[in-house]
Amino acid sequence: MRRLLFLVPLAVVIALVGVLAWPILEGRDPRSLPSVLLDKPIPPFELPGLTADGSGLSAGELAGRPLLVNVFASWCAPCRHEIPLMVRLASEGVPIYGIAYKDDPAATQAFLAQLGDPYRGIGVDRDGRIAIEFGVYGVPETYVIDAAGRIRHRHVGAMTEDVARRTLLPLLQELSQ
């Protein structure tokens, strides 16, 4: 019995190596994402807003024109980084909607009060269920949705000037025609 106890660390290591080897052996890149949701319609959802009386966000509101959906959280450092850029894009007329991922609405409000609020509408996804339906695996992520309400592109990580100008905006442009 005592000897078995001394085998515990070895067992833990074997499990650990297995977990670490899996993604490499599968040739998985952490930045690439399952494409199952690509070109699929966004999941039907209805999320509450930041305040009890304020309006939230629902799948219906996102239909009708191409737009960006940004999934963010106040506790996520890269999100903090991309907000000023999105504020600028929003002021140029780019429609951006936000999903506040696993975050306290009060914290989200403080976050947006500090950094600026680029969103035309925000849905509060406290338990992250809707984000999972979108295929989110980390924050921030940004989705391009077309007028028919289908997910056309997904960007993982903080949005940069480059990504916005080279990928997201041209795609929005193309979808509006």
Binding site: F6, P9, L10, V19, P23, P84, I132
Partner: protein, 660 residues
Amino acid sequence: MIAELGHMALSVALVVAILQSTLPLWGASRDDTGLMAFARPAALAQFGAIVLAFGALTHAYLVSDFSVLNVATNSHSTKPFIYKLAGVWANHEGSMLLWVLILALFGAAVAAFGGNLPDGLRARTLAVQGMIGVGFLAFMLFTSNPFERLYPAPIDGNGLNPLLQDIGLALHPPMLYLGYVGFSTTFSFAVAALLEGRVDPAWARWVRPWALAAWTALTAGIALGSGWAYYELGWGGWWFWDPVENASFMPWLAGTALLHSAIVVEKRGALKSWTILLALIAFSFSLLGTFLVRSGVLSSVHAFAVDPERGLFILLLLAIAIGGSFLLFAWRAPSMEGGGMFRPVSREGALVLNNLLMSTAAATVLIGTLYPLALESVTGEKVSVGAPYFEATFVPLMIPTVLALGVGPMLAWKRGDLAGALNRLWVAALAAVGIGASVLYLRGAPVGAALGLGLAVWLAVSVVTEWAERVRLFRVSIGQSLSRAVGLPRSAYGMSLAHLGLAVFILGAVGETFFSAEVVRFVRAGDQIGIAGQTVTFEGVTKRQGPNYESDVGTFVLPSGDRLESERRFYPAEGQRTTEAGIRSRPDGDLYAVLGEPAGEKRWTIRLYVKPLVMWLWAGCAIMVLGGLISLADRRLRVGAPGPRRASWQPAHAGVADSD
């Protein structure tokens, strides 16, 4: 030509390392002193060869030899000298070279200062150190050769990521690696002890100074990294629970536990197999960190380029090193227990409690870091674990840790008197509750802040009380106390300072976490911004030309009349932007100004932060490092401790008894 010499030196180092890891081991098993003695010159030669290789790469960087692929991808001729130098280790291949350099340095140090180690133990330790060297040298030569040539050579290089062009980052990796890789020595000692099947007294005396050296360097390295994030990333934060930060924090936690359990082995001969396990774990975490940063299985701001082949190679090394040592542990350790008995309430008991808390904390961080990977492997589902997880699990563990930390040093060995110790800490308890309650009720601070401040005060006053008891302050005359204070061993001061450093660190963390203020505004030149009761004036933006960048410089005038500058730099060679925050640091807190994106005609986004007490975060780390260094200085005077002046301490070793 010089690059080829470097490549050759690296190959020579590999051959020497192979011999170093086999011959002495064979000699030790046959009790052949000649073969065992081969370990020392081999370790020195391996180090010499890697120094040559490192010198060759450094040369290539300094003269901007762009025919070397590594230099061309990571350097640029207009880069300032210091960043050309730092550029050597600011990329995957070069940092691996630094890694093996430090590994060989520790091997050479054991060879040079290990004269009084038993032959067998020294030979086996150096052989294990050599095996780690073989693994990583082979990794470099087969997958990450820093000396690869590029034909035709480009006219200029790609440049270094401007975020990395910072003095903190120039020093951060060498310090961090000294710590990370420093745990290779305790690992080698532990494996050697397992091979021998016993822990002799020399082993116990040797492990602690090496663990201490590694711990001290790692503390400094992590603090520099956190300082870099705070000053250079411009997010105003100092710790993000990023996977790579966690990767350096886990060996720190395990190393802290090792440091404390090694005391029990040294003084009381107990906890031997547990200490060996911790020594294995500390280095395993270092290897895990190396793997996480370089394999690309996790994405992070800090991670190096993704390359599955490299990831698999390091994982293989990790599996062999950790798996092999843990297998040896499972086989040999059960027959090694024994040593002094002790009651749960005793100095040993307190150190065991520290070990339990530190290990649990390390496990918490490990789970938080790897859970997303594990879940994805099992169910294919992708999730992210953010700071909320770590705040909910790690922080609560630190509360009992700090409470126990005040009491532990007051307990006697073998059998302590808890009631008596608590009795003597009434001042600390009173001060802690008093401060906590007054910030809670008088200043209306959050409960967390009151708790944190109370803990910091409790710890600081306990440390001072413990010291005062040792020198019998106010019980004997001041003169007598003074001479007692001078007579206290340096290791006692080291401990007090390290614990005090933690108290100071908590003070800074509480100030930054609970009392920070932040304002984001669009401003024009001349606008005034109010923050935390102060008014800051924005003077406007001017253009400036740096050595390898152009920048917009925003100037802020503080109420005191001081001026703060924040820059938005553009590095044309790399095509990247960085932000340099303007920071005015004072003991009561920092004022942190960032010039953000331009927002139309003559308007700019600016961010201002007031971060109370944040300086004490790093001051606390510095005090901990100082404690480590002072304690290390003590080691040299003791039996079996490493030190460069062998001739002068050798006689003392024979005559002076262990005094504390």
